[in-house]
C-alpha cells in the first residue's frame, strides 16, 4: 500500500469515528450547530481526500451525505432520526470499504451497487427539501 493511501485510511477512520460520535449526540440534541458543522466538515474533508487517492465510490457517497448536512446547516432540511440513521449507515459503509482497502488493497467490486441505495435516499431527501420525520 502506498503512503498516501495509508495516510488516507488513518485520517478517514478518525473522521468517521468523530462523525459517528457527533451523529449519536445529535440524536439527543438535533439542533447542536457545532456538532452538525463537525459532521459536515468530516464528510467534506473525506470527500476531497478520496478524490485525491482516486476512490470515486467514496467520493460519490460522501458528496451526497455532505449535501444533506449542508442542507441541515442551511436549515433547508431538518435533522430527524431517519436522517441520522441514514448518515450512520453511510459512515458504516465507508468503514467497511476502509477495512477492505486495508486488507485486500482495493475497494470491493460491489461498492457502486452497494452504495447506490444510500445515495438515492440521500438525494431524495434533498429533492424533497426536508426530511419527513423532522425534529
Amino acid at each position: 500500500m502506498n503512503s498516501l493511501l495509508a495516510e488516507f485510511i488513518i485520517e478517514a477512520r478518525d473522521l468517521l469515528e468523530s462523525s459517528n460520535a457527533h451523529l449519536l449526540a445529535l440524536e439527543k440534541k438535533p439542533d447542536d450547530a457545532e456538532a452538525i458543522n463537525i459532521c459536515f466538515r468530516a464528510m467534506h474533508t473525506l470527500k476531497g481526500d478520496s478524490g485525491l487517492v482516486d476512490l470515486p465510490e467514496i467520493t460519490r457517497l460522501l458528496h451526497a451525505a455532505e449535501d444533506v448536512l449542508d442542507g441541515v446547516r442551511g436549515k433547508t432540511l431538518t435533522l430527524g432520526a431517519e436522517t441520522i440513521d441514514l448518515l450512520l449507515q453511510v459512515t458504516d459503509c465507508v468503514s467497511g470499504w476502509l477495512d477492505r482497502l486495508e486488507g485486500a488493497g482495493q475497494m470491493p467490486s460491489s461498492a457502486t451497487a452497494d452504495s447506490a441505495p444510500l445515495i438515492s435516499r440521500l438525494r431524495a431527501m434533498l429533492t424533497a427539501g426536508e426530511t419527513r420525520d423532522g425534529v
Partner: protein
C-alpha cells in the same frame, strides 16, 4: 538547486492526507514546503517567516480559509504574498468569496500534479 534558493511555500490544510500529497509533490519539484494545520497557525507562520506562496484550503475548523486570507491581507508584511485557495467546491459564489477575501487564484480539487505545478509556476511568475 541549493536548499537556500528554493522557493518557500506554506500549505495550510487540516487534512494530513492533503498535506502529505503536497509535501511529496512540492519537494519533488524543488520547493521548500512548510505546513500549518489551521488558519490560526497559518497566520502565525505567515507573520513570522517569509513565504513566496501560500496554498490554503477553504474548509477548516476554528478559522476557515476565507477568514485567514482576509486577516493576512490586513497585514502589511503579507499583502504582496500570492495566495492560492483550493477547494472541492466549484460554485461561483465560493470563487467570488475567495477573490473578495484577497486570494490571487482559486483552484478546484482534485488537481492533477501537472496542473498544480503549472499553476504554482504561473503564480510565481516562472516558466514550468
Amino acid at each position: 538547486m541549493s536548499n537556500q534558493h528554493r522557493k518557500r511555500i506554506l500549505v495550510v490544510d487540516d487534512s494530513p492526507t492533503i498535506r502529505l500529497y503536497l509535501r511529496e509533490l512540492l519537494t519533488r519539484w524543488n520547493f521548500n514546503m512548510d505546513e500549518a494545520v489551521t488558519g490560526l497557525v497559518g497566520i502565525e507562520k505567515a507573520l513570522t517567516a517569509r513565504y513566496d506562496l501560500i496554498l490554503a484550503d477553504v474548509n477548516m475548523p476554528i478559522m476557515n480559509g476565507y477568514a485567514m486570507v482576509e486577516a493576512l491581507r490586513r497585514e502589511a508584511d503579507v499583502q504582496d504574498v500570492p495566495i492560492v485557495m483550493m477547494s472541492t467546491e466549484a460554485k461561483d459564489s465560493d470563487m467570488k468569496r475567495a477573490y473578495a477575501a484577497g486570494a490571487n487564484l482559486y483552484l478546484v480539487k482534485p488537481l492533477l500534479p501537472d496542473q498544480l505545478v503549472t499553476y504554482v509556476h504561473f503564480i510565481l511568475g516562472e516558466t514550468a
